[in-house]
Subunit: 309 residues, 2 copies
Amino acid sequence: MADKPHVLIVGAGAIGSFYGAILKRAGCRVDVVLRSAADTVASDGFAISSPLGDLSFHPDQVHGPEDRAQDAPDYVVCCLKVLPDIDRVAILAPWVGAQTRIVLIENGIDIEPAIADAFPDNLLISCLAFIAVSRVRPGVIEHKAYGRLTIGGWPDGLGDHCRRFGALCEAGGINIEYSEHVVGARWQKSVWNSPFNPLSVLADGADTLTMLDTPGGEALVRAMMAEVMAVAAADGHPMPDSTIDEYIAGTRAMPAYRNSMALDYRNGRPMEIDAILGNVVAIAQRLDVPVPRLETVRVALRIRAANQV
Amino acid sequence: MADKPHVLIVGAGAIGSFYGAILKRAGCRVDVVLRSAADTVASDGFAISSPLGDLSFHPDQVHGPEDRAQDAPDYVVCCLKVLPDIDRVAILAPWVGAQTRIVLIENGIDIEPAIADAFPDNLLISCLAFIAVSRVRPGVIEHKAYGRLTIGGWPDGLGDHCRRFGALCEAGGINIEYSEHVVGARWQKSVWNSPFNPLSVLADGADTLTMLDTPGGEALVRAMMAEVMAVAAADGHPMPDSTIDEYIAGTRAMPAYRNSMALDYRNGRPMEIDAILGNVVAIAQRLDVPVPRLETVRVALRIRAANQV
């Protein structure tokens, strides 16, 4: 690896643009691959407002999806949506060299195996982003709050490659939490996401407090959280019983909040149903854990998505 | 009772206007109580197109909600929506005389006790309508198909009062099915309504075939039907196991269909959440029957309604 690490961001929506800016601030060479608006970004760069200051930057190179790598980057950072009709492996393949580390900054459960299977000889770093950021229009990003990454090797452990990538992010100005068990960390996040994200969509974009304060709402959220925790425990990632109380209290302490799935829905964008919820139900079925509430919500969401087309 | 039975329709929306027309065709005196548009209906009558022919008619009297009865009718036919903020007892009270039979043509489970408790000395006739009818605008009704009533005494049995009212409806041109166990008939209808109505709303107005054909959709509908049947059995109204297969086959044999709750939702009208689904869950809780899917859908609907305001 050269003194100046070479990073390629694949999928520069809100998340990718933000972490690209962070790595640029850390002194990396930052290239991007964009599906759309490559010309705009090539000429104007990214405009990123943030509580951290003005994070606007010009990528060193802007690639369209048909371009091919001249020199393989040190890190390919995948910030793609996890959707059935996005072939992440095919999109990443042209850019992954023998020494390239693959970094996933993506939502959901069980999203790593497809990548690990396709690139078995590359180190894989799995990251969870805790961030409120949105794309105002192509190339224009509004970072509202947070930004912490939880970083771990996949399927577990924490090699030097994880620490080095984390150090770059810290140098760029964000907080890092390392996890020896990143899959467990994903399950923890899933305990929150699995009820709140889909229920919000079914309720036409209801915020967290509306969900909790509707009669029966908090009880349903708690029951769905318990279902996720039962699946996680069966999958080898038990959590303390106090988790649910802590999540509910934490959510009530935050301002009313609309999650990314609700925002995707309201903006007519496809929803990460499988990554957020479907994979939880699939694992539950494989491990024979009953999840009637999660399954109900998953199917209702699917019907809704089918009716949206 | 006079030779010409005196009927008062309370709540002359689509359902009330249609059955008012039927009873008018049967030779009854038909008065109506309207919450709105009383002036329009008083001058123009109801315009009702129907496969049965032109059912348009002028009511003998049109009352506003503040009017009071001159002479008590033989039948008060209640076609009100069953909603928390509609006080059916208060609306009916001014019109119910000592000899008045109260007829309910309303959707849902457990909708009779409030009326029976308030008018303990009046005969109560409970009817289920199988009909596709909608209000185009005040006073203008489009009857599309069906129209059959299932009629029974409440809580059970079939007195002469039921047969006489049914004979009037038949004389007006619709089919009647008598039931000694009208509560059981309501449970049977609930087996269909409890999954299809709320799921359609959660999916933004999906039709029956979209619901069944989405992956996992038919399985969820079947599981919800089984939950309703378990509650019905615990409440003393068992159904044969074949019921679910028959409902699914019947629904698949019909054209894709949007139910009344979905139409209410799409038109910004309040939904009969409690009558259709909430009362099923309440009875399940009282009888200790687990209904996780029904409860999930009920709460999701409530959150949605809370978010709609």
